[in-house]
C-alpha cells in the first residue's frame, strides 16, 4: 500500500491516544472517601461484565476513529510491487495514453471499458504532483500527435473529460511510441508512460521496437505502466461478412442473407438467436450453436416487396459490445419487368418457335419478368403500353408504324433487344429501324453449318457452306452490367457457346459499344442508346437455328440480366457495406451528385470533395447513412438510392487479449489491474471507505456513551 500524502499517514499513530488516555486516567483517579461505598460495590458487581465490554468497545472505536481519519487524508492506494516501484521514483514527465479503440466500448459492470479507463486516467492525473508535466494522448484511429508535456494539469483533465471512444481499431503501439516522442520535449529527467487499455491483441503490434524517448543525451527508455481496464478475457458475440444474393428458389423477390456468427468466448454458445429485420419488422429468425472461439456461416432468406428499397439489419441480441451485433443493409428490390416478345418465326412445335427459349429463360424460376408474345404482323404500337422491354426475335421486318412506335418507346426509356434469324432481312431492318440499330446489318456469315443443315447436306450432295468450325464468344466486356455478375461457371459456359451463323455489322461511324465479339472479331452483342433507352443487338439468333446458346447454362442468366439492364433495374442491387472508418466514395447516380451525408445519429459527416472526383466520406458509426444529393436541376434532396450501410470493423470484435506479462516484457512495463489497484473505475476509493468507517465509529461511540 502506498500513500499520496505519506506524512499524513503518520497521523494514524493518533490511534494510540485512547490507550494513553486510558493509562493516564488510571493514574489520575481521585481518592474519595465515601460512606455509601457498599452501593458502589453493588453496582459494580451487577454491571462489571457489561462495563468491561463497553469499555473495550469504546477503546476500539476511538482507536479506529483516530486511525481512520489520518489514513483517509493520506489517500492510501493498493498497488502491486512492480507498480509501486516506478511511482516511488520521484517526479517524471508523464504521458497518459488512453485506448479509444472500438473494443473499449464494451460494457463491464454497467460501465464501458473506456469509461473505466478514463476514470483510472483521471485518478492517475490527480496523483501526479504539481512539478510533474503531463500530456494526454487519446489513442483513436486518426489521433493527433501527442502534445509536449505541460504543467497545466487542468488542460490535461479537460482532454481526458472530452475523450470519447471510437468504433475502429487503433494502433496502440504507435500511440505509445508517439507518447515517448512527446516526452522527449520535456526537460524533466524522469519519463513515464501510463497506458490505460483493455489489452485487445488486435490493437497492439508486438513487432515494433521498444519505445524510446529521444533526449539530447541520447534515447532513454521510459517507465511504462499498463493499467488494465478489462481485468479478464471478455466474451463477445459478433456478426460479420454479410452478403446478399437473390434466392429465386425461395420465391420472387426473395434474397438470401449469408453472414458469419462469431463466438469470441471461452465457453460454447448454444441457440444464439439471429434475426433478419427490415423496415421495422422481423422477417425471419434463426439459431446458431457455436463452440468456444468458434464461428459459423449462417444464411437467412426472406422475400421483399418489389420495386422498393428496404433497409434493415441482420442482428443478434445485443451484448456488452452492441456495435458488432448488427449488420445493416440497404436492399433495392427490382420491380416487375414487363416484356413484349415479337416472335419472328412462330411455330406450333414449341422448340422450333423463335420465342420459345427466350420466353422460358425470361420467366424461369423467380424471375421478375413477365412476357407477352405477339406475331410481327399483329404487332401494333398499342402493344407497347406498359412494357419495359421489347424483344424483336428473328423478325424479317417491322412495319413503319411499328418502327416509329418503337423509336418513341426507346426514346422514352424503353429497352429494345434485337436478335436475328433466318427470316431477318438486313436491308429492310436497316431501313425500317434506322437509328434503333446500333450498327447497320450487312451480310450473313456462316461459321459452320448448323447441325440440322449439316445433317441434310450429308444426306444430299450439295455442300455450299463456307466453314466447318462454329464461332464462339471470344471477347466479352466483363465490366458491362450484363456480364459483371456472372460467376466463373457461367462465364465458362458462355465461352463454350457455339455460334453457327451470324450477321456481320458495319461498325463504321457508330458510337455503339461492343459488349461481346466472336472469335473472328465480328461484333456479337452491341449496345446502343437512343434517348433515355437502351438497345441491344445480338447478331445471331436466340433460337436453336443459328446457335446452341439456348441450351447452354449461360443463356437463362444472360437473358434475365439483359432484361434487367434494358429495363433499367440492373443497378438496383444490394449495396456492399462500408466498414466503419473506411473511405466511402459517393458516386453520382442518375445525375445526382451527393452533397451531404447524415450518420444514423443525425450527425452530418464532413465530406472530402474535389471538383473532379466524387466526394468521399469516412463514417464513424454503425448503421445506415442518408445521402442528400443535388440533381441536375440544382435542387438538393434526399437520395434514397444513395443511402449506404456501414458495419463494425470485425477486428475489434475479437477481444482476445495479450498476456499482460508478455506486453509488459515487450515494453519494459509493469502491469496493474483494477482488482488490486486502490482507485480504478467506479470502485469506491479506499479513503472514502476509511472516512465512512470513521463516521460509523464516531456514531457508535456516541451511542455507547449515551447508554
Amino acid at each position: 500500500m502506498t500513500f499520496l500524502h505519506p506524512l499524513l499517514a503518520w497521523g494514524a499513530l493518533a490511534g494510540l491516544l485512547p490507550v494513553a488516555i486510558h493509562l493516564v486516567d488510571r493514574r489520575r483517579a481521585r481518592p474519595q472517601p465515601f460512606a455509601a461505598i457498599d452501593f458502589v460495590l453493588r453496582a459494580r458487581r451487577s454491571t462489571s461484565r457489561r462495563l468491561r465490554l463497553r469499555k473495550l468497545l469504546l477503546l476500539l472505536l476511538r482507536m479506529s476513529l483516530l486511525t481512520a481519519i489520518p489514513l483517509a487524508l493520506a489517500r492510501p492506494r493498493f498497488a502491486s510491487a512492480t507498480a509501486a516501484a516506478p511511482a516511488a521514483r520521484g517526479p517524471a514527465a508523464t504521458a497518459l495514453v488512453l485506448d479509444a479503440s472500438g473494443s473499449m466500448r464494451y460494457r463491464l459492470h454497467d460501465r464501458t471499458l473506456f469509461s473505466r479507463a478514463q476514470a483510472m486516467a483521471r485518478d492517475a492525473l490527480a496523483d501526479l504532483s504539481a512539478e510533474e508535466p503531463v500530456t494526454v494522448l487519446v489513442c483513436g484511429p486518426r489521433h493527433q500527435p501527442a502534445a509536449p508535456p505541460s504543467f497545466n494539469h487542468a488542460a490535461a483533465r479537460a482532454v481526458l473529460d472530452a475523450a470519447v471512444p471510437s468504433r475502429e481499431p487503433v494502433d496502440m503501439s504507435d500511440c505509445v511510441a508517439d507518447a515517448a516522442r512527446a516526452l522527449g520535449e520535456s526537460p524533466v529527467a524522469g519519463k513515464r508512460i501510463t497506458v490505460f487499455t483493455d489489452l485487445t491483441a488486435s490493437d497492439w503490434d508486438l513487432g515494433r521496437p521498444t519505445p524510446e524517448v529521444p533526449t539530447p543525451a541520447g534515447p532513454v527508455k521510459p517507465e511504462v505502466q499498463i493499467e488494465d481496464a478489462a481485468e479478464q478475457a471478455l466474451p463477445n458475440r459478433a456478426l460479420s461478412d454479410l452478403s446478399i444474393a437473390p434466392a429465386p428458389d425461395v420465391g420472387p423477390h426473395a434474397y438470401r442473407f449469408s453472414f458469419t456468427v462469431h463466438n469470441f468466448a471461452e465457453t460454447p454458445a448454444v441457440d444464439v438467436s439471429v434475426e433478419l429485420a427490415a423496415d421495422g419488422r422481423t422477417l425471419t429468425r434463426g439459431f446458431s450453436s457455436l463452440p468456444a472461439h468458434g464461428s459459423e456461416r449462417k444464411t437467412l432468406a426472406a422475400t421483399f416487396p418489389s420495386g422498393q428499397r428496404s433497409s434493415g439489419s441482420v442482428r443478434l441480441a445485443p451484448d456488452a459490445l452492441p456495435d458488432d451485433d448488427a449488420l445493416p443493409f440497404v436492399l433495392a428490390v427490382p420491380r416487375e419487368i414487363e416484356v413484349l416478345l415479337v416472335d419472328g418465326a412462330p411455330s406450333p412445335i414449341r422448340y422450333q418457335d423463335e420465342a420459345y427459349f427466350v420466353q422460358e429463360a425470361l420467366e424461369a424460376g423467380a424471375s421478375p419478368v413477365h412476357t407477352r408474345t405477339v406475331d410481327p404482323d399483329a404487332f401494333v404500337p398499342a402493344d407497347l403500353d406498359g412494357r419495359d422491354v421489347v424483344f424483336l426475335l428473328g423478325v424479317r421486318a417491322v412495319s413503319p408504324a411499328a418502327a416509329g412506335a418503337l423509336g418513341r418507346f426507346v426514346e422514352g426509356g424503353g429497352g429494345l433487344f434485337i436478335a436475328l434469324g433466318d427470316r431477318s432481312d438486313a436491308d429492310t431492318l436497316d431501313s425500317r429501324l434506322g437509328k434503333l440499330l446500333p450498327m447497320p446489318l450487312r451480310l450473313v456469315k456462316t461459321a459452320a453449318p448448323p447441325p440440322r443443315e449439316a445433317a441434310e447436306a450429308r444426306s444430299g450432295e450439295e455442300n455450299a457452306l463456307t466453314g466447318s468450325t462454329p464461332a464462339h464468344f471470344a471477347q466479352i466486356d466483363q465490366s458491362s452490367p450484363i456480364f459483371s455478375l456472372f460467376g466463373p461457371a457461367v462465364s465458362a459456359s458462355l465461352l463454350d457457346v457455339r455460334i453457327y451463323r451470324y450477321f456481320l455489322v458495319d461498325p463504321q461511324g457508330s458510337t455503339a459499344r461492343v459488349l461481346a465479339s466472336y472469335d473472328d472479331g465480328a461484333p456479337a452483342l452491341v449496345e446502343g442508346r437512343s434517348g433515355s433507352g437502351r438497345i441491344l443487338l445480338f447478331t445471331s439468333s436466340v433460337a436453336r437455328e443459328w446457335s446452341d446458346w439456348p441450351i447452354r447454362a449461360s443463356f437463362v442468366p444472360a437473358l434475365q440480366q439483359i432484361a434487367k439492364v434494358l429495363s433499367g433495374t440492373a443497378e438496383q442491387r444490394a449495396d456492399p457495406p462500408t466498414v466503419i472508418g473506411h473511405r466511402r466514395v459517393l458516386a453520382s447516380v442518375s445525375g445526382k451528385r451527393p452533397v451531404s451525408v447524415v450518420a444514423p445519429s443525425g450527425v452530418e459527416l464532413p465530406l472530402e470533395t474535389t471538383s473532379a472526383e466524387a466526394p468521399v466520406a469516412v463514417p464513424t458509426e454503425v448503421g445506415i447513412y442518408r445521402v442528400q444529393a443535388r440533381s441536375q436541376g440544382g435542387a438538393v434532396a434526399d437520395a434514397p438510392e444513395l443511402a449506404f450501410p456501414v458495419v463494425f470493423d470485425s477486428r475489434e470484435s475479437d477481444l482476445g487479449r495479450l498476456e499482460p506479462q508478455e506486453l509488459a516484457a515487450r515494453l519494459g512495463a509493469s502491469v496493474s489491474r483494477p482488482g488490486n489497484a486502490a482507485e480504478g473505475g467506479r470502485r469506491t476509493p479506499l479513503w472514502t471507505g476509511l472516512l465512512a468507517a470513521a463516521t460509523v465509529a464516531f456514531l457508535l461511540e456516541g451511542l455507547l456513551l449515551r447508554r
Partner: protein
C-alpha cells in the same frame, strides 16, 4: 461552621407544637396531653353527667346553681422522656458540603432538645460509635440541654455502625415509653434489612415511640461524580477505582431500593421516618416531622 443551635431554626420551630400522636402515658407538659385524668388539681372543664361517670367528680356547686349534674374534669402535666440517639460512626463524617452528616444530625438533635426542653420534657442523649455508646440520662432543665449540645458539638465520627448493639443498649437503659429520636445514615456493612435495623425498630413493641431521622449527604443521593475516582470506605479498608459515570445508574438503582426498603420497614413498624438531606435548611426536616405528628402537612 454554624452553631448547632441555629437561632433561625429555633425561631421557626417555636411556633409549632410538638404533640405525641399516640398517647402512651405520662403527663401533659407543654403541648403534650395525657389521656389519664384525676391525679392533678388543676380544673380544666365541665362535662354533663352521664351514667357511668364517677360520682365523686360531680360538681355539687354547679348542681345548686344550674340544677344539673356536671362532672368536673382536671388536667395535669406529665413529662415526656425523649432520647436523642445519634449515630457517630465514621460514615457519618462524610461531607460533600459545609456540614457533615454528623454535624447536621447533631444540630437537628440539639434543636429538638431545646424544643422538648421548652415543653418541660426530659431529654436524654445516646451517642453511638459502633458498639461503644455514650449515655446521658433524660432531664428537663435548660442547663441539661446545654450540656447535651456541648457534648454533641464535641463528638468526632469514629467506629462502625452497629444498630443491633445500639438497640440492645437502648432496651436496657432507656426508660419505658420513651420517645426515641434516632439520627443515623443507617449504613451498615450488611446493608439495609440487616438485623440491627430490625432490632432497633422492634423497640417499638416495647411501647417506646420511635422516630428515625435518616441523615444523608446529597452526594450519596445523587452520586454526582464524573471523573475517574478511587472510592475509599470510611469504616474499613475497602476501596474501588472506577469511572463513576459508568456505575451511576446501577448505584442510584441500588440506593433507591435501599431507601424504599427502609421506609417500608418503618411503616410496617409504625415508626416515624424522616429523610434529612444535609444540603436542605436545618429546620425543614424538623418541621416536616412535627407537622406529621400534628397531623398537618407542610410544604417541603
Amino acid at each position: 461552621m454554624p452553631s448547632v443551635l441555629d437561632p433561625e431554626a429555633l425561631a421557626r420551630i417555636a411556633n409549632l407544637h410538638l404533640r405525641a400522636r399516640t398517647v402512651v402515658e405520662g403527663v401533659l407538659s407543654g403541648l403534650h396531653k395525657s389521656p389519664h385524668r384525676g391525679q392533678s388539681v388543676e380544673f380544666a372543664e365541665h362535662k354533663e353527667y352521664s351514667p357511668g361517670d364517677d360520682v365523686r367528680h360531680i360538681d355539687w356547686k354547679a348542681l345548686g346553681k344550674f340544677d344539673k349534674y356536671y362532672i368536673k374534669r382536671f388536667e395535669h402535666e406529665t413529662n415526656l422522656r425523649a432520647y436523642l440517639v445519634v449515630d457517630a460512626s465514621a460514615s457519618m463524617g462524610f461531607a460533600s458540603g459545609p456540614l457533615s452528616k454528623l454535624a447536621y444530625a447533631s444540630t437537628v438533635a440539639a434543636s429538638l432538645a431545646v424544643l422538648l426542653s421548652r415543653q418541660q420534657d426530659a431529654v436524654g442523649l445516646c451517642v453511638a460509635h459502633g458498639e461503644r455508646l455514650e449515655f446521658v440520662p433524660p432531664r428537663s432543665s435548660p442547663a441539661h440541654v446545654s450540656a447535651i449540645a456541648e457534648l454533641l458539638s464535641g463528638e468526632k465520627p469514629d467506629g462502625g455502625t452497629d444498630l443491633g448493639s445500639l438497640a440492645r443498649a437502648l432496651a436496657e437503659k432507656a426508660p419505658r415509653r420513651a420517645l426515641l429520636l434516632v439520627f443515623s445514615d443507617l449504613f451498615e456493612n450488611g446493608g439495609v434489612g440487616s438485623e440491627g435495623l430490625r432490632q432497633l425498630l422492634q423497640l417499638r413493641s416495647l411501647k417506646d415511640e420511635i422516630a428515625v431521622f435518616q441523615v444523608l449527604d446529597p452526594a450519596e443521593l445523587d452520586f454526582p461524580f464524573e471523573d475517574p475516582t478511587l472510592f475509599l470506605s470510611m469504616e474499613d479498608d475497602r476501596r474501588l477505582e472506577t469511572h463513576p459515570l459508568q456505575l451511576r445508574d446501577g448505584y442510584l438503582e441500588a440506593f433507591g431500593r435501599f431507601l424504599e426498603d427502609t421506609r417500608r420497614l418503618c411503616r410496617e413498624r409504625d415508626v416515624d421516618y424522616e429523610l434529612l438531606r444535609t444540603d436542605e435548611p436545618l429546620d425543614r426536616g424538623i418541621v416536616r416531622f412535627l407537622a406529621r405528628r400534628e397531623g398537618q402537612t407542610v410544604a417541603p
